[in-house]
Symmetry: C2
Subunit: 133 residues, 2 copies
DNA sequence: ATAAAAATTAGAATTATTCTAAATCTATTC
DNA sequence: GAATAGATTTAGAATAATTCTAATTTTTAT
């Protein structure tokens, strides 16, 4: 594993939020001034193939990266906020109902976060320009 | 609801696969020769906001659209194939473990599809150019 | 029939990501 | 320790998906 790959893995594992490639790039630059965004993508792709990190896709937002500890996600339907939650392992319940062996599963739970309930939270930055008024 | 929106909803609801915006555009053109891709995006966005369709994100592949009947998804980790599966509703089990009210959930189950087990399936077309040799 | 509002179109623009080719770094051999 | 091969990184061009803009067309209400 190269130095950059190690740094990037460290950044992901020590973060308590879900970072995008761009955010990881900014963080990597603190350790390695000359790092390029392409290096981040190269290494993310390598780490992902090796199964050392997870990738999370939420519709309307850029992919972000996560550690591989088993956990699920909460997604706020209003502001897009993504957070971790640990629920019981559902593999057994799911496997009972499928005849093919399952490798793993991704569970995203949609809700409205506390901030959005109150109505005073700005939207998470999604793709493209601004979304709604 | 406009004519195009109706057509698009019909296309999504009557399809037994998961269509991308591009595929919906091609399908829409059969009904409406002059349709533009932007119209497809406009209407998908409208239908999504109205809760009339679902949007599915799989890392590495363009978003695709789905009907709103409750069901889960199988994702082949090798070729990216996305298919439907109906499992028991897990809302109860999940809600028991969370104090905030949940709206819904998205469950994606990772497996290796029959074709990939045998080894003779071409990869689903993802983003960018070709992936691996 | 006319005016106002909404939807559509075509194409430019944007964002996230991948690719390319040259440059740099690393490890290995003599 | 220099020469070399291989891997990694860099910088920027290229691409794909999606969004935006502004002009045009369609629909609706008057």
């Amino acid at each position: 594993m190269t130095k950059n790959a190690k740094y990037i893995l460290e950044i992901i594992n020590s973060s308590n939020v879900h970072l995008t490639a761009e955010q990881i790039y900014l963080s990597l630059k603190e350790k390695n001034k000359t790092a390029a965004l392409a290096t981040v993508y190269n290494n993310l792709s390598f780490l992902y193939k090796e199964g050392l990190i997870k990738k999370i896709s939420v519709e309307g937002y850029p992919d972000c990266y996560d550690n591989i500890k088993r956990h699920d996600h909460l997604v706020c339907k209003k502001c897009g906020k993504l957070s971790d939650i640990v629920l019981e392992d559902l593999t057994g319940i799911i496997q009972q109902q499928i005849n093919i062996p399952i490798l793993s599963y991704d569970l995203k739970i949609n809700y409205i976060c506390a901030g959005c309930q109150k109505g005073t939270v700005e939207q998470r930055q999604g793709k493209g320009r601004d979304k709604e008024p």
